[in-house]
Each structure stands twice: as C-alpha cells, then as structure tokens.
C-alpha cells in the first residue's frame, strides 16, 4: 500500500493555510531585559491576538531573557531572543515569526523553482532548421 501514489500538497494553490500555528511569548517577571516584553504583552498583545485569530498565543513566565517562539505546521520551530528590545522592535520580531513558513533558510539561486515541467520544454539542437544546425 505504501508504494501507492500520494498527491503532493501545494499550499497556496486553491487554498492557503497559515504556516505559523502557535506563538509563545516568554518574559521574566523581574528581569531588566524583559522590560520591553512586559510592555508589549500589556499594551499590544490583545490587539495582535484579535488581528491574528489563526495563531494560538501562549504567554509564558520564566526567568532569563525574554523570547518569541513560533511553532509551525511542518513541525519545526523558530526562537528569537528579544532581550533589551523595546515594544516596537519586538513587534518587528513578532511579524518575522508570524510570516515565516518555518522552513529552514536557504539561498535561492534560481529565479523560479517549480515542481511543474517547463511548458516550453528544454531547448533541443535537433529541432531547429537543418541549415542552421551546428556542423561538426
């Protein structure tokens, strides 16, 4: 049975499912590096949570530096340390976490990557007019 074909899923074709499923905001109750995070949770979190209903928010209190952690549908997570950052900077980091797909970072060397075959086909020396073909 396992040898039978399974269709590949293309997120974004026909339907799109947001890849970031959970965001954890960790802060310390007394640490100075958590000042910005505490203000962020107090002032911004309510709005952010109502603007992003597709994400589950988790607020965690733990000593140490504050961090933002994103859990993604592919099973991976991304952790960003936000020590000593002010709420605006934390917002940038939050958006980064939210908009990420959770996939490992990689360099794209080709302008287009696709699992579809090229509609033009690949160039062939045999399909040009014989008089213009390269002669050995």
């Amino acid at each position: 049975m396992s040898s039978r074909l399974t269709a590949k899923t293309l997120n974004g074709v026909g339907s799109f499912v947001h890849q970031c499923k959970r965001v954890t905001l960790r802060y310390s109750n007394w640490g100075g590096s958590s000042n910005g995070m505490r203000a962020f949770i107090k002032n911004n979190l309510k709005d952010i949570a109502s603007q992003n209903p597709q994400i589950e928010f988790l607020v965690e209190q733990k000593s140490g530096h504050p961090l933002i952690r994103g859990d993604y549908v592919n099973g991976r997570d991304k952790v960003v340390c936000v020590r000593n950052l002010d709420p605006n900077e934390i917002m940038v980091k939050f958006n980064l976490t939210k908009n990420s797909s959770g996939a490992k970072l990689k360099t794209n060397n080709k302008p287009v990557e696709s699992i579809n075959e090229s509609v033009r086909g690949i160039w062939s020396p045999f399909h040009i007019d014989p008089q213009f073909r390269h002669k050995v």
Partner: protein, 365 residues
C-alpha cells in the same frame, strides 16, 4: 442459525446510519478491557435490539470555547463562526479515543465525510480526464483521498496529536479544554478482546479486532470529520467548495507517470485503426553520432501527414517506442476545456448541466 460476530453488527450500524450519526450518538466500537460496548439481546439475530451500554456526550460548546487551539484551527481553515467549536472538537476525537467513553467520537462524521470526498474527487477526475483507463483513474483519485494524502493535509492544517497520556494529564493538572484542540486517539491497546458468546462464530480474527488506530488513519478521519461538519453546519455547497479548494486544487499528481504501455507501438496501431486514422508510421527526424558511443535518434510517429508523437533514444528502437508512448499519452491524457461536473447544479439551481465527453474506452490489444 444465522451467526454473526459483534464486530459485524457494529459496523453495520455505523455504515447504515452515517448521516444520522452526525446528530445522534455514535455507533462505533470503543472496546475497553473485556467490556462490552453493546448490550446483547436474548435473541442474537434481533439486530434492532442491540444497544450501546454507555452514553457518550457531545463536548459542550462552553468547554470547547475555552480551547485556544480550536479557535485557531477554525480560523486557520476559515470555517467561519457558523461552525461550532464543539463539532470541531468532536472531529478531533478519534474513534478509538482515550476519552471515547465520555465524549462522542468522530466515527460517524468521518464515514460521511469520506463519502463526500470520494464522490467529489472521483467526479472531478472522471470529467477532467475522460479517456483515462479505469485503473489509472482510480489510482489518481486514490492519491487524493487516500489516508496518507488526507493525513498530510491534516499536518498542513496544523492538527497536532495529543501525546500526553491520561496519567500525564492528571499529574500536570492540565485542564481538559487544552486537549480538545488536539487529535485524541488511543495509539495502542493491550487487549481489545471481547469474548464471543456461546453459539457465535467470530468472522474477524483477533488481530483484526485488536488493531489500534494508526496515526495516519486517525489524522485522515479527522479531516473527513471536519468536512462532514461543514456539511452539517454550512451546507452541501460549502462542503463541496472546501473539498475542491483544499483537497483537489492544491494537490498535484503526475498522471503521466502512472500510464504504462507494455506494447506501445501495437496499441497505437490498434488505436489508429479503431479511430479510422491511417496506420502509424515511424520516421527518423534527426540523428547524431550513429557510430559513436552515445548516439541520439529523434523519431516521429505519423498518421498520414499528422504527427502523433515524438521520441528520442539511444537506439532507433528505443526512440520509436518512446514516440509511440508519447502519442498514446497525448491521447489518454486528453482533457476537454470548459467542462462541467454534474455537481455544478448544486451550486446554482439555474445552471443547466452540459453533458460531458464520454470516451469509447481503452484499446484492446
């Protein structure tokens, strides 16, 4: 005397009342250790008198409302507020769930959702590729609604499996609502045995009965159940659109890799005869390095002046076969433009269904 096993009785109840099971309590098996789920009547063949000996309750909406994961999942799938979270929570309760005794599970919903998915997927490909051989058509449809495909869809939707055991949750004093947002099912059973009564012959083997639900199956059933929930709360049209967008449009299968032609040139020749075309002739179009270690031949297959296909190969024979395969793929993968599936009339009652192209069938070699 008519003899049945308990398993047969239960599956009969589950299938025949797939739709009704959406509103009533489920009839699926949920064996506990040597505890019967069904009250057996005196007369064993009186199937109407079998009854459940436990009464599962639906997850209360107020409880489900407290689960952040359920809110997020509903929003992620754009199920709208018409879709109650209690239904979503039920869809994530596996048919062999650990709290299957307490809450209604998704067995009835999954069965109904499965039928919906199978119908719309099959209809789509039947109309889109009218010339595909039946075996290939089935395989293409299967690639879309198989358990492994639906399971990968559930992963994309961000459905998580509840990995904490009952003891874990008791120790950590985790609130019950937190578990509602996760897929709950029993991963393994020590023993699911129910002893057969006297005069009853068991038709299913012990291994079959004791098989716990695999994660793939549980995930697939959750997807099927969610779709059944859309049908129940938002109607057939919404369910149809959801299936098309989430299970058909965003899936890709290379159908041409499924086609195999053991006797390609012969099949093409028969096809041309059947369709009243001139018999196919292979012609060499281009070549290089005939006497070298790496020759390349380009062969076209023609019917009269029409080129049916083209192939390349390191030998004339290979190129010729590839050309015939190319021509046959062109024939079998024909996809008419502007087709309508029969269920289009569900979307708009005024739409008149245009009859679709029906092919003569595959070539008999």
């Amino acid at each position: 005397m008519l003899r049945v096993s308990q398993r047969l009785v239960s599956s009969r109840v589950g299938v025949s009342s797939a739709v009704r099971a959406l509103s009533t309590s489920t009839a699926c098996l949920s064996f506990k250790h040597s505890q019967r789920v069904f009250n057996t009547p005196q007369n064993r063949t009186d199937f109407g008198s079998y009854s459940l000996n436990y009464n599962p309750i639906p997850i209360p909406e107020s409880e489900a409302n407290l689960s952040p994961a359920l809110h997020a999942l509903r929003s992620r799938l754009q199920l709208t507020n018409e879709y109650p979270l209690s239904t979503l929570g039920r869809a994530l309760t596996g048919s062999k769930s650990i709290d299957g005794e307490k809450y209604v599970n998704n067995a009835g919903m999954a069965q109904f959702g499965k039928n919906l998915i199978n119908y719309y997927v099959t209809e789509h490909f039947l109309v889109k590729y009218p010339r595909l051989p039946t075996k290939v058509l089935n395989e293409v449809a299967y690639a879309h609604f198989s358990e492994s495909s639906l399971s990968s869809t559930s992963t994309l939707w961000g459905i998580e499996v509840n990995n904490s055991t009952i003891i874990d949750s008791l120790i950590s004093a985790e609130s019950e609502q937190l578990r509602f947002g996760k897929l709950r099912f029993a991963k393994q059973f020590e023993d699911l045995t129910s002893q057969a009564d006297e005069g009853i012959i068991e038709l299913t083997t012990k291994d079959q009965r004791n098989r716990a639900l695999g994660e793939t199956t549980a995930r697939a059933q959750a997807v099927q159940a969610i779709i059944a929930g859309i049908y129940a709360h938002r109607g057939r049209q919404a369910a149809r659109e959801f299936i098309i967008n989430h299970l058909i449009k965003n899936k890709k299968v290379d159908i041409d890799t499924l086609l195999q032609f053991p006797q390609a040139t012969r099949e093409l020749s028969r096809l041309c005869t059947r369709e009243g075309l001139e018999s196919p002739v292979s012609r060499l179009l281009a070549e290089t390095g005939r006497n070298s270690a790496a020759p390349v031949f380009i062969v076209g297959v023609f019917s009269g002046n029409n080129k049916l296909g083209e192939g390349q190969g390191a030998s004339l024979r290979e190129a010729k076969t590839r050309a015939a395969v190319n021509a046959l793929k062109g024939w079998y993968l024909y996809s008419p433009l502007d087709v309508q599936v029969p269920s289009i009339t569900e979307a708009d009652a005024n739409t008149q269904f245009k009859s679709v192209y029906v092919d003569k069938g595959t070539v008999v070699i």
